[in-house]
Subunit: 325 residues, 2 copies
């Protein structure tokens, strides 16, 4: 089958379409004919060899496609349209997926739309609810509001919790789009001091929850933005990993809970439970169209390198998808 | 009535026994004749004027005594022996306490023993269970194992959860005492590298939960000691508040949850709920004597300054109590 593999080069690794044997499903796994995959920052980290899920030589952590071969004990059968997380191997014509992690694709969705669901919606659900324990009518600050996870989190926080949603983004276009998705307050981080805007929007209280994709660069302003007894979920370090000085007493005085997380390295069992809760709580809204995946661009599989570059340039609003057939 | 007040001095504030009007209970409060109070680090912070609960000019956040006057709607009546947290005002002959925060003193307890219960046991319960979500048979690292909160936490973690309890302390006497209370592993932090010992005691996995009273000085070693997906509860900064160079990616890779907390500044409603859960889960063990407060020294009320110095010198094993009658 055709698959995107990493080619090691001195001036930065590149991606190449190569021939590779199709994977063999183990017990409890589905073999899936992939119709679309999607690009994630973790794929870029893996491409660069900085960490990632390097056990699988093929990139890609999420797919949408058709079941080709199913374990007799699973809920799925050949011909079913499914989407979900894979343990690498997504940028390819065939992939295997633990059956307890597969989700039925809503009838109205194309494969491209379906491929845009798993990673960002599961991450948004995990961080808002499992880790961030968002309660009805609380306030949440979502950085990178126009990103894949951002566009998913805005919708979940509004539809599931009626939250006050405050977002940051780097352009008026992105902020306008976030507003259309339901965001109440948009902050241009290039022109405004987001902590001041957050305090103004919350009567000086700060937000109950922060979804932080930025890390070091925003540390002090996030601390200023979080409410007393607030939760702060760290899921990205686009602004650097190294904070030069952390004042622990400031965290204690506010009784802040900081949860650092990544989704890809979590266990199979964790991903299966997360998928199950997500299907129960969110899929009904996807079936009715009240919550929807946001696609920025669709690239052919062979142009995976260009697709990743597009993400690295932060030009996208929503997901970048690879069309596989 | 007699009460301990703060006397401001240039070379460090001092404590003085003075006459002060007895407090008047508001609706929902009990007036209590105090028989014993206990000393906490938060009192020292307040004495030094660095922060604390300065709305009440009298020191002290926990007492044991006899109800003198009760709100008609409370569960308590004059003559009842009670213990619990107060919003300052504990180092005195009379104090007021929200009735929903009072706990009946076990029949076998002296007032000195009772005064040694509220702050440390509620803090240990809050950090182990509400914040740390300790599960049966998990492992927990308790720093300052011989401190008031440490001696409470060792007992709770063993009796309520059958946890593997690993403690640090600065002398063999303290470690021996922790072992008597149930600790499985004792580490002399002056002679041993505690992270290496923790990893050795957990087959390289690290602990599921850390109760951290130390802060900055232990940051890197705590990060090395916590298991993947572990919880780390920060409740003290005996080793400094300022951490230089925090690597956020290291926190993310381990999916660590860091919860910073203080008990004293929490709301009345929070303390009432915490007291209620504690009474349900822990008081039965206190009634049978399976869990018990640990008292280091009892000072007369007039010697409150000496009592605080004793704590500042880190000489105590367990609680320092003030006898008030």
């Amino acid at each position: 089958m055709k698959a995107i593999m990493i080619e090691q080069q001195e001036n930065g690794n590149r991606l190449q379409l190569q021939n590779h044997p199709a994977p063999e499903p183990a017990a409890g796994e589905l073999l899936i004919k992939v119709h679309a995959a999607a690009v994630n920052r973790t794929d870029i980290v893996t491409r660069e060899g900085r960490s990632g899920y390097a056990v699988n030589p093929i990139l890609g952590v999420e797919i949408a496609g058709v079941v080709e071969q199913a374990d007799g004990e699973s809920d799925f059968a050949p011909g079913d349209r499914v989407m979900g997380l894979v343990n690498g191997g997504g940028y390819a014509e065939y992939a295997v997926m633990p059956a307890d992690r597969a989700m039925k694709i809503p009838a109205a969705y194309s494969f491209e739309q379906a491929a845009a669901v798993p990673e960002v919606f599961l991450t948004a659900y995990q961080t808002l609810y499992w880790l961030g324990r968002l309660q009805p009518n609380e306030s949440v600050l979502i950085h990178a509001g126009a990103s894949g996870v951002g566009t998913a989190a805005i919708q979940l926080a509004k539809k599931l919790s009626g939250a006050q949603v405050i977002v940051t983004a780097g352009s008026q276009d992105k902020l306008d789009f976030c507003r259309e998705l339901g965001a109440d307050v948009g902050i241009d981080y290039k022109k405004q001091s987001f902590d001041e805007e957050v305090l103004a929007a919350t009567n000086g209280r700060g937000v109950d929850l922060i979804l932080d994709f930025v890390g070091a660069d925003y540390w002090d302003k996030n601390l200023a933005s979080v409410a007393k007894e607030g939760r702060w979920v760290l899921i990205g370090i686009l602004g650097g990993a190294q904070v030069e000085r952390v004042n622990l007493f400031a965290l204690m005085s506010k009784c802040v809970q900081l949860t650092a997380t990544l989704l890809t390295p979590r266990s199979d069992e964790y991903k299966a439970r997360l998928t199950s809760d997500f299907v129960r709580d969110v899929m009904p809204y996807m079936e009715t169209g009240e919550i929807k995946p946001i696609i920025d661009t669709v690239f052919p599989l062979a142009e995976a390198m260009e697709a990743q570059r597009h993400m690295e340039d932060n030009r996208n609003i929503g997901k970048i998808v690879l069309k596989v057939d």
